[in-house]
Amino acid sequence: MSLLEARGLTKRFGGVVANRDISFTVAPGELVGIIGPNGAGKSTLFDLITGFARPDAGEVLLDGRPVTHRRPDEISRLGVARTFQKLRPFAEMTALENVMIGAFQRTRDVDEARRAACEALEAVGLGDRAHAHARGLSTGQRKRLELARALATRPRLLLLDEVTGGVDQATIPGLVRLVRDLHARGLTLVVIEHNMRVIMDLAQRILALQLGELIADGPPAEIMRDHRVIDAYLGEAWRRA
């Protein structure tokens, strides 16, 4: 059975259709990439899956059970964690405290949460910044922080909104390695990514969005040959890259 299934998800904002009739499944253990130009509706899709927005039509299923109208915190407790494209650190709290908020999903105990948070910070390579305030971290570090926070909830499914966006070139390989490690350890991931090389290399399967519609769904090699994808997005991006 699929871990995540979207059935005909549609979302409108005023007259603009952000997502139109999007259906796909994610099997346990998969690493799925989502690509598409700006405004294609990628982040909206994450919002629909995680309860931050309500679809006008369609359904979201986890383990085959509908969760469409659940609140974000309920979705999180069902084992789905996410990051945000525009980072949302708890600015006035330390890195450690940030991650503890995630860890508290698994325990009431403060010391236990602290231990789990330390582990998560180590895992993303932020161990030495544990007591720094989140507002004092660089963009790359905040990205890692957000990842650690999500991981600390011990999700089954992790949705990453732009792993490498806004991060300097030198940090990208480290982040990619991190994602690969997580996947190797059995985590299911759905990753929105602008950097074509990164995503083609990383993902087992790719969903391509354009103007709110799902125009392709398949392995990277196939996606790269899909003329609709090439026309819509890859052509231009590939040339630029």
Binding site: D73, S76, F90, V110, A113
Partner: protein, 317 residues
């Protein structure tokens, strides 16, 4: 200040406990009682606003609820005010959920103004509700002799002093406990970014309501204390917007989101208020309030983190 050593805290507590034994004049005792009362109120407000980030400008609602509940129970059922105090706290907590559930959907200024609106509604209703004395107010029936169970002490303010101190210690203990628990971490996460908190599994509304219930109950306890201390209440003294604002002001002056802030704020603001009232007040000239207003502006411009923040900054070269 943040980690005031245990020894210093113990010394401070000992000094506070000894104070009425040394100082027997009523006025200094009264000032201390008012400091404790406002510190407790500010601490209660701090739980909701400072830690959880929900800036309520309507906390007088809960203060008045506490004051009226116990006074009415004393008056009609001849119940001991202690039972009334408990009932008032429970009622205020329940009321806070009724108010909070819809109002927590609002954010920022919309939330703050909605709490003003709720406060004004309650104030106006109290002014017109004959059962509770409407605008004429309510006299708490005088009970003799002075006793703890009567919660009235006409001979000396000493008992009031210790009760007010106990209330403050209760509020500090509750805050400390919350601060060091998962609930406290969740409060702060909600204050920083409610959406991010939700994405990590924090049931945002439930925790906001929890903060509000705690805050309202503690505030109501103070209301009962006030009623038993002054023995007369009316909407103008326990429900007005100016009281709601004063409560936050004490916390803001001291520094929100810290255990010590409300204490420091009350310790500065209350004597200042009493002092300027003696110096300039009584003439009907409101000069004390002029100074007070100027001070508020000064604090918000110079040091939004409050006096505790200022002390921290000075202590860290």
């Amino acid at each position: 200040m943040a980690r005031l050593p245990g020894l210093a805290a113990a010394a401070l507590l000992a000094a506070l406990l000894a104070f009425p034994l040394v100082v027997t004049l009523p006025f200094p005792r009264h000032v201390m009682i008012m400091i404790f009362l406002y510190a407790t109120l500010a601490q209660a407000w701090n739980l909701l606003a400072g830690y959880c980030g929900q800036i309520s400008l309507g906390h007088a609602v809960f203060f008045g609820t506490g004051a009226y509940t116990s006074s009415m129970l004393v008056k009609t059922l001849d119940l001991t005010p202690w039972a009334g105090m408990l009932a008032g706290a429970v009622l205020a907590a329940a009321l806070s959920q009724v108010i909070g559930y819809p109002v927590f959907r609002l954010q920022g200024h919309y939330f703050a103004i909605a709490t003003i609106a709720v406060g004004e509604i309650v104030y106006t209703l109290a002014l017109n509700w004959d059962l509770i004395g409407a605008a004429r107010g309510l006299y708490v029936p005088i009970k003799r002799p002075d006793s703890l169970s009567n919660f009235q002490f006409h001979e000396s303010k000493q008992a009031y002093y210790y009760i007010a101190l106990a209330l403050l210690l209760l509020a500090v203990a509750v805050t400390r406990r919350v601060e060091r628990s998962r609930t406290g971490f969740y409060f702060r996460a909600i204050r920083e970014d409610a959406l991010a908190a939700a994405s990590l599994g924090v049931a945002v509304t439930r925790y906001k309501l929890r903060a509000m219930a705690l805050s309202a109950a503690l505030t109501a306890l103070c209301g009962t204390f006030y009623a038993q201390y002054v023995l007369f209440i009316d909407p103008e003294s326990v429900f007005p917007l100016s009281l709601s604002i004063l409560i936050c002001l004490v916390a803001v002056l001291g520094g929100v989101g810290t255990v010590w802030g409300p204490l420091v704020g009350a310790a500065v603001l209350v004597p200042l208020g009493e002092g300027t009232r003696i110096l300039f007040g009584g003439t009907g000239k409101a000069l004390d309030l002029v100074v007070y207003g100027a001070l508020i502006m000064l604090v918000s411009v110079l040091q939004p983190a409050g006096l505790v923040g200022l002390a921290r900054r000075l202590g860290r070269p």
